[in-house]
């Protein structure tokens, strides 16, 4: 298995030395995110998130299926994460690396287990028919802080997604095409966001947000906190690494809440903008015979 080249000793020392003086290589403040950008695709449920040089694409899709036998009243919701060799030669197809397992576990805990999506609303006929919602996460470019970017992309994709409308009449289930009825959004309960702290130094006393790949390679520990804007923690994962004072972890959580609120309002704005862009007067406008070509003079 090819391995990513490690940074040289000089590079490592330089980064750490600079961090001692609270200076980051790209000149950011310690608690500052890189510029975040979100583009929605033409289809519903495609979100392309760039965070500095990290780029993640998430695509939500729905299909009709049979619910699990042990949960007849719930729909199915899955998040599939793929780190392809396109991102880094260290990732191989069909062999999940530790990073991949941890990223998918974190997304699962943050979005799925915290009940962000109401799975009961996905059930159409108890025990027989339900929607299966699947989000595929593709990492297109990896420059650190995959988790925050991936989580943002998943939430954005799911909130943007519209599933076909259905109706039940006299035991007959009808699924409408987008032309017949406008697709409906998922029943969404809350939007959790991941905020990842990186700790540096022997004592773990330097903490910063949104680490780049270089910073991730020299860090001595990390802690991912998932929160929504209501101040609910959905998940905390400090999986080992350098010991950090309990009090500073609490501080980290409070700052993470501010960041999560910030991310939340950013996403709301983007979604509103996109909705405005798409809303051209609904189906009527689309069906009108006029075209917007400017007639020749």
């Amino acid at each position: 298995m090819p391995r990513e080249a490690e940074p040289s000793l000089n590079e490592k020392n330089f980064v750490l030395q600079a961090l001692q003086d609270s200076v980051r290589l790209d000149g950011r403040e310690l608690e500052e995110y890189r510029p975040l950008a979100l583009t929605f695709g033409d289809q519903y449920g495609v979100a392309d998130v760039t965070l500095g040089k990290t780029r993640v694409l998430a695509k939500a899709s729905a299909e009709l299926t049979v619910p699990y036998a042990d949960r007849p009243l719930d729909g199915i919701f899955n998040i599939a994460t793929e780190l392809s060799p396109m991102t880094s030669p260290a990732f191989e197809v069909n062999r999940p690396t530790e990073t991949e397992v941890l990223v998918s576990r974190l997304l699962e805990k943050t979005v799925r287990r915290s009940g962000a999506l109401d799975t009961e609303s996905l059930c159409l006929v108890a025990g027989q028919k339900c929607w299966s919602i699947r989000v595929d996460v593709h990492v297109l470019s990896h420059d650190g802080n995959l988790i925050d970017a991936a989580c943002f992309a998943v939430v954005a994709a799911l909130r943007h997604f519209r599933k076909p409308d259905t109706s039940m009449e006299g035991g007959v289930l009808t699924v409408y095409t987008p032309a017949e009825r406008e697709p409906v959004p998922l029943s969404w309960l809350h939007s959790p966001f991941c905020v990842t702290w990186s700790f540096f130094g022997e004592e773990g006393d330097i903490a910063l947000l949104d680490a780049t790949w270089m910073e991730e390679q020299v860090r001595s520990g990390s802690c991912t906190i998932s929160l929504n804007k209501h101040g609910e923690i959905c998940q905390i994962a400090k999986l080992g690494g350098v010991p950090v004072e309990a009090v500073s972890l609490l501080q980290c959580t409070n700052i993470a809440l501010i960041k999560a609120k910030d991310l939340s309002s950013k996403l709301d704005n983007w979604l509103a903008e996109d909705a405005k862009r798409r809303d051209k007067g609904g189906l009527l406008a689309e069906l009108s015979a006029e075209n917007d070509r400017v007639p020749d003079m």
Binding site: V101, C223, G231, E232, G241, P243, E245
Partner: protein, 278 residues
């Protein structure tokens, strides 16, 4: 869901009759396995785990997929690294839970626990003393009743002490919860120490591992939705619980040490003679 909380508010006693700040019975033994370099057996209530440590030793031949799904949870880069690699392997026995449930080795939850343990121990063990080598930690879960990750961390710490691998201090872990149902923000909620399986299912909780008797948190895992205001109370109780656990583990080690001196067993000093201290 409200079963636990409603009875709690009446008598301030939990389902198993404990107070809010009471640990379950911890029983631990070290040196349970003659063939291993270090071993331990730990019970936290009905959660029972065994740990066997082999190494530090020369990294064995890489079996197919050992780095990925097979071995799992390796920290450090194989034999090339100047630090010893900590490889953790967790086997959750099919008979450990009430309903038999088989988890393959590819189970993501197990892989995550392996990785957590490997990272937790790598931060505490002096791995820089054993370059180009490997420390193998294999854990067996014989019975589970909540606080599984905490029990695994405690057992691994004991076994590493038994193996004589130099480490900064004990890493001890325990769980803490809160009697408020998740999302509810009632001020009267009490934090709880050391959750059992039923409480873990019903109440928000977290696992915390600390280093020695300091307040330094090595690992913190919270998997349930909880109000941010509850965190401080839970963390405080958890950290305090870790200190209690540390006392208990310390007694276990000291008792075993005394017994060995009385028996006249001279410790073979695994790894001590050929270790070069710097």
């Amino acid at each position: 869901m409200p079963l636990d909380t409603s009875t709690y508010s009446l008598a301030l006693l939990r389902v198993d009759g404990r107070r809010w700040n009471e640990l379950r019975r911890i029983h631990a033994q070290i040196r349970t396995q003659a063939a291993a370099d270090g071993s331990s057996y730990l019970e936290m209530g009905h959660t029972k785990v065994m740990c066997v440590v082999t190494g530090p030793s020369e990294p064995g031949p890489r079996r197919g997929g050992a780095g990925g799904t097979g071995g799992g949870g390796g920290v450090g880069a194989g034999g090339q690294s100047k630090d010893a690699e900590v490889v953790v392997n967790i086997v959750i026995a099919g008979f450990s839970s009430v309903d038999r449930k088989r988890r393959g080795r590819g189970d993501k939850r197990t892989l995550e626990m392996q990785s957590t343990l490997a990272n937790t121990l790598a931060a505490t063990l002096h791995t820089h003393l054993f370059p180009h080598s490997q420390i193998n930690i294999s854990l067996h879960v014989l019975s589970q009743d909540g606080s599984l990750l905490a029990a695994l961390i405690n057992a691994a710490t004991l076994a590493c002490v038994d193996a004589g691998i130099p480490m900064t201090d004990y890493v001890t872990a325990c769980t803490a919860g809160s009697t408020s149902t998740y999302a509810a923000n009632d001020e009267g909620a009490d934090p709880l120490l050391d959750l059992n399986h039923q409480e873990e299912q019903e109440l928000p909780g977290l696992t915390v591992a600390t280093l020695g008797d300091s307040d330094k948190v090595v690992a913190l895992v919270c998997e349930s939705r909880v109000q941010i205001s509850r965190l401080e109370g839970m963390l405080a109780v958890g950290v305090d619980g870790c200190k209690q656990v540390r006392e208990i583990l310390d007694q276990v080690i000291k008792a075993q040490g005394q017994k060995m001196i009385l028996d006249g067993t001279v410790d073979k000093g695994t790894g001590l003679n050929d270790m070069d201290l710097d």
